[in-house]
Amino acid sequence: MKSPVWRSGFPFDLSLDSRIVKVLLPVLTLVASLVAWELAEIYFQIPSYLVPRPSEFLGRFYTDFPEIWRQTSATGIVIVLAFLVGGVVGIALAYLIVTFRSLEDGAYQLIVFLQIVPKTITAPLFVTWFGVDMTPKLAMTAFITFFPVLVDAMTGFRSIDQRLYHLSRSMGASWWQTFIHLQFPAALPHIFSGLKIATVYAVTAVIVVEFVGSSDGLGYLIVQAVGTMDMSLMFAAILATSLLGLFFNLVVTSLEYALMPWLKYRA
């Protein structure tokens, strides 16, 4: 892929493998798409109340940033709390199911059934139960986050060589020591793949509950914008939602490598 013709005259390495190009290429693609969008709207005279121009909603994102930021935080806090609740419950239940056979035969089947129910359609139910504050959002998002964590944590706990338990028993380890020194770290990579899947689900879940009934959050902002046909604000809110999802994905991925430095050396 190295192009000696390019490299000879330029002060930078501009081959396709270089770092600058790797960052530059997606940025250029994005800018080009936005410019094309803008030009297409001007050319076809598409009204802004149907599809806003990039210049409009990006401008709106900038001018209304305090409001967008406030709603983004409201949604973001729910996701953080839901991750904590869903994560802890998922890991704990996975541990219990793997440890006790009877639970696997009984409870797990029920959980699988609950997972098959499309959860977003239960949003009105959660709102009816818990009102329009943070509680229904948190309940629903935690519920959605919990399942991928449960499934992957179970895989993680099961992946442990049985003879490691021989070893820990010969050391006189308590169940807690076995969990904290052996089972949990062994399951951690699996738990993180569950969490990564959960980030995508979680953002959708919060927004849907906010659509149905909420007094704050990005979903609320989107519904408000649609109500007043304020399309540029709606697009700005959609942009904020995507950025929020991206941010959580980044957090989970960074946390993964910070907590598990050994992953770098895995073949």
Binding site: H166, S170, M171, Q177, H181, W262, Y265, R266
Partner: protein
């Protein structure tokens, strides 16, 4: 052959002698759909304090099961095991175990894998870290302390797991085909290193193997095990000076011991070299 005279004094610190192990009429049966499978025994065995004893037998003869029973990790179906005269009823903890697979935790560095013993047993960190450093030196692992298992070769991983089994200075060491997954060159070196290490400490060692060379090269006594059900059918005392040479062939006695084991294996039907009469084979098959 035994290095200690009289009863071991377990209370004394410093060079703690190994424990005495006695197995009486030990059996193990497994219930399956096809019926009851007699995997083991009844069989008797004894390991004296500080003695290096190998159990040799064909795969599937129940030698690993016997080791796990002796470690208190799985219950015997019948009979009993006594350690220093005390009946075994729960897992032994004054023990280090090495399996065929290194079973290192891939999320801990080599050094931290060894120090798992310190953490779980709540021993003094400084003392154990110093011992671990020493063991790393003796096992040729210096410099590998901060590496993760995935960064180590198979031989080095097994060395780390040997260090893990020894760092808390247990009185018993059990090894289940510890060199089985290693290449021949690595195996010879690690066997030699293990012998030197054992000579310093004189733990009681129960060593499970299917290698005649390993058994003779390391043991004070070799117990030969039959299959279906597994029973210890013969005991061979290995009277060779230590440390034993890497080239065991240098000893004419080695060939003699090896031939005896081959002979036993042939008699019980593990090997078929065509040197037996059809009648003898028939007897062996129904033994």
């Amino acid at each position: 052959m035994s290095m200690q005279g009289g009863m071991p004094n377990r209370a004394s610190s410093g060079t703690q002698p190994g424990a005495a192990i006695l197995g009486q009429q030990v059996t193990k049966t497994f219930q399956s759909k096809a019926g009851i499978n007699h995997a083991l025994g009844p069989t008797d065995f004894e390991i004296k304090p500080g003695e290096f004893v190998s159990i040799i037998g064909a795969s599937g003869c129940g030698k690993s099961t016997l080791m796990l029973i002796t470690a208190g990790l799985i219950p015997a179906s019948g009979g009993a095991v006594f350690v220093d005269g005390e009946k075994l009823e729960r897992p032994l903890t004054d023990i280090g175990i090495v399996f065929q697979d290194h079973l290192l935790l891939d999320f801990r560095t080599a050094f931290d894998n060894v120090l798992l013993q310190q953490q779980i047993r709540r021993l003094d960190r400084e003392v154990l870290a110093e011992r671990a450093t020493n063991l790393f030196k003796k096992l040729g692992l210096s410099g590998a302390e901060q590496r993760y298992p995935s960064q180590l070769s198979g031989g080095m991983r097994q060395r780390v797991s040997i260090a893990r089994a020894l760092v808390h200075e247990p009185s018993i060491l059990m090894m289940d085909e510890p060199f089985g997954a290693l290449d021949a060159i690595t195996r010879t070196q690690i066997r030699h290193d293990l012998e030197l290490l054992w000579m310093e400490t004189r733990k009681t060692v129960l060593f499970i193997t299917h290698s005649i060379e390993e058994a003779i090269g390391l043991s004070d006594r070799v117990l030969v095990m039959s299959r279906g059900p597994g029973r210890i059918i013969e005991e061979i005392k290995i009277d060779l000076p230590r440390p034993r040479p890497v080239h065991l062939g240098d000893y004419p006695e080695f060939a003699e011991y090896a031939n005896r084991i081959y002979g036993i294996f042939e008699r019980i039907g593990v090997y078929n070299f065509g040197t037996k009469t059809a009648d003898e084979k028939h007897t062996a098959a129904h033994a």
